[in-house]
């Protein structure tokens, strides 16, 4: 990319930071296959949306690719067995989540044969209808592998409905350390290109653009070679964080801007990650569901950083062991990239579909700074790719004024962490924002709950009153009947008395 075009496409990008890439640590060794671990711990919730519904029992024999959790709703994804073996436990197991809370997990003991389930695949996948491809993508459990883990089939169907023109494949990989997409593009470019064509066919896109950051020349060359002669165009974008944010990529490549309250499909663009394209290729061409992914193992505390193709459910400890172990006790274990990844409490956490990296970082790499007062240097304002005022938002959240933070655009925050990264006072800005968003969501939920319980209380109150009223009514009627009966009796008695009296009179007369 020449400096001039770099400058101009840089103009389209907003905000952003330039963290130390540290990709050299893991970029050179080829992808290795992780030796099959002794146990696999496959969580049922590995995606955005409803949890998958368990479809196996303890003791079941499984084949690789067999369904263990069916899609749990409209926005959900199924989960498949990563290898052949036996279900040895179903229960709670630590999940790769910042809360450290456990999640429903199927534990599988591999039998070592790695036998696959039979799959029916067409000779030419383009014989399939676009709807059929989307259905198969959904059945293969494919989710956005860039980290968002949104079910891919949902995106495909939505795009078809809104009629998109452009498919953008995101090869940005702007997170430092991570090289899994880079390696994938270098080694498996032709499969990715075919996957891209399949996605475009399923979504009805005519234009296919692959955006790759200019710090990955080998990947660019490999992808250009593989894409030669096809409609897939390889576009080079300047390296900066967060270039991998889909809306940033859309803006840089097409100049279009996605409305804040809309989806990219509304401006005719669909974005998928390169690893997702590879998974689609595997699923449609060979009928292989998503049961493994490439994970970057890196960080200064790792003996031999590199990329591993790991079955879903392998523990972080297995990956570290396969990378030569640890040089020193890491200061922090991170799942994903250093900018947006989550800290792991320990190494007994399974890899899931969205796990792009496993980092064992030393204290020197993360730095453990003490927060200082904000000096309003507004580095965060210039770094924010969305155009927010992080310093103002954080100040209001600190003062428990969440609605003011919303007024500054809290809900548009993408949580990329650029502001926290540049802050010279080391204020955990993005932490404030995620706290505030969680708090607001909880408040919203609480409000709905209060409304619902009030309705319950009101209807109970009404019911109680109605019952009381009915009882009263019944009592009154009973009383009235009794009174009527009494009156009748009285009247009868008087009549009798009167008759008797007249009789007497008559007698007298």
């Amino acid at each position: 990319m020449n400096p001039l075009s770099r400058f101009f496409s840089g103009l389209r990008a907003r905000g952003g930071v330039h963290p130390d890439g540290r990709k050299g640590l893991s970029a050179e060794p080829p992808i290795r296959i992780l030796p099959m671990p002794e146990r696999l711990y496959v969580p049922l919730q590995q995606h955005v949306g409803a949890c998958a519904r368990l479809s196996v029992l303890v003791g079941d024999k499984l084949l690789k690719g067999q369904l263990i959790g069916a899609s749990g709703g409209n926005i959900s994804a199924p989960v498949h067995a990563p290898t052949s073996g036996r279900v040895v436990a179903i229960g709670e197991f630590p999940s790769p989540h910042p809360s450290g809370l456990p999640g429903a997990t199927v534990t599988i003991e591999p039998d070592g044969d790695d036998r696959c389930i039979e799959a029916v695949v067409p000779n030419d996948p383009f014989d399939l209808s676009p709807e059929e491809i989307a259905t198969r993508v959904g059945a293969a459990g494919i989710v956005g592998l860039g980290g968002a883990t949104f079910p891919s089939a949902v995106k495909l169907k939505l795009s078809r409905k809104s009629g998109i023109s452009t498919l953008i494949v995101n090869g940005g990989e702007c997170e430092p350390y991570l090289t899994c997409d880079d390696r994938l593009m270098r080694e498996r470019a032709s499969g990715i290109v075919e996957g891209i064509r399949l996605i475009a066919y399923a979504a009805g896109a005519r234009e296919m653009l692959v955006g790759i950051e200019d710090n990955k020349p080998e990947a660019i060359a490999a992808m250009r070679l593989a894409a030669a002669g096809s409609e897939v165009q390889i576009k080079v974008v300047p390296a900066m964080y967060p270039m991998g944010w889909d809306k940033q990529m859309i803006q840089v490549l097409t100049g279009r801007e996605v409305p804040a309250e809309g989806r990219s499909a509304e401006i005719g663009v669909l974005v998928h990650n390169v690893a997702t394209a590879w998974a689609v290729y595997q699923a449609i061409r060979f009928g292989r569901p998503l049961v493994s992914r490439v994970v970057t193992v890196s960080g200064a505390a790792v003996v031999a950083p590199g990329n591993l193709e790991v079955p879903i459910g392998a523990l972080a400890a297995d990956l570290i062991a396969a990378s030569g172990g640890l040089l020193t006790q890491p200061q922090r274990l991170v799942l994903g990239g250093p900018m947006m990844g989550t800290q792991l409490p320990h190494l007994n956490v399974p890899m899931v579909k969205g796990s792009s990296g496993l980092l064992a970082l030393t204290g020197k790499e993360i730095g453990l700074p003490q927060p200082a007062p904000c000096i309003r240097c507004s580095n965060c304002v210039r770094a924010c790719p969305v155009g927010l005022l992080p310093l103002e938002m954080a100040a209001h959240i600190r003062a428990a004024d969440l609605s003011a933070a919303v007024g500054f655009g809290l809900k548009d925050c993408i949580g990329c962490g650029s502001c926290s990264y540049v802050c010279p006072a080391h204020i955990p800005l993005v932490h404030f924002f995620n706290y505030a968003r969680g708090e607001l969501a909880a408040q919203e939920k609480g409000k709905l709950r209060t409304e619902a319980t009030r309705k319950l209380a009101d209807s109970r109150e009404e019911r109680m009153q109605r019952i009381a009223r009915e009882r009263e009514e019944a009592a009154r009627q009973r009383a009235a009947r009794k009174a009527a009966a009494d009156a009748a009796k009285k009247a009868a008695a008087m009549e009798a008395a009167r008759l008797a009296a007249t009789e007497n009179q008559e007698e007298l007369v």
Partner: protein
């Protein structure tokens, strides 16, 4: 100097008259506040605030005779709404210390007497005579009436358990940055 005194007096007088006029002209008639406050309160009439039901509490709030933090079942959301409605400053982080609670029936102790579900103002307890009762967490306001009536101490209030779905980041503390 006389000019200065004169002009300031004139200015003050004019502004005072204007304010007086505005206070009369723009005065709010009646007090719709009580009803608005009542709409915010949970309506479970639990009486934990010490007032006779939510209507009584709303009246007291409107008269500024009760703090906006009076309603334990309402939690932080209700405090925030009340504070906004009444224009009161309140430190929500302190209110947060009272964790939201929910009722729970201990199955070992429940004798199926049905007293708790008869007492529940939101129909949040399911059960029948001689059957173990259970709590619908979503409908429970943690008013505690079931706890009062249970003859075997089988109902109690517990903090709402945190799940993967309900968890969110806690507020960061800035030890160093006290400014």
């Amino acid at each position: 100097m006389f000019i200065a005194i004169f002009s300031l007096t004139l200015l003050g007088g004019a502004l005072g008259l204007f304010l007086g006029y505005a206070a009369r002209r723009l005065a709010v008639e009646g007090n719709p506040l009580v009803e608005e406050i009542q709409a915010i309160l949970p309506g479970s009439q639990c009486g934990q605030c010490g007032f006779p039901g939510c209507a009584g509490a709303a009246q007291a709030l409107a008269n500024h005779e009760a703090p906006v933090t009076l309603c334990p079942p309402g939690g932080r959301e209700v405090v925030a709404l009340l504070a906004a409605k009444l224009g009161v400053e309140v430190n929500l982080t302190e209110v947060a210390d009272t964790v939201p609670q929910v009722a729970e029936v201990l199955e070992d102790l429940c004798i199926g007497c049905t007293r708790c579900y008869k007492a529940c103002p939101t129909d949040a307890i399911l059960g029948a005579a001689k059957q173990i009762h259970a709590v619908f967490r979503e409908a429970c306001t943690a008013c505690g009436k079931c706890v009062e009536v249970c003859p075997t101490e089988a109902t109690r209030l517990i903090p709402v358990p945190v799940t993967l779905q309900s968890w969110y980041w806690s507020k960061p503390s800035l030890q160093g940055a006290t400014a």
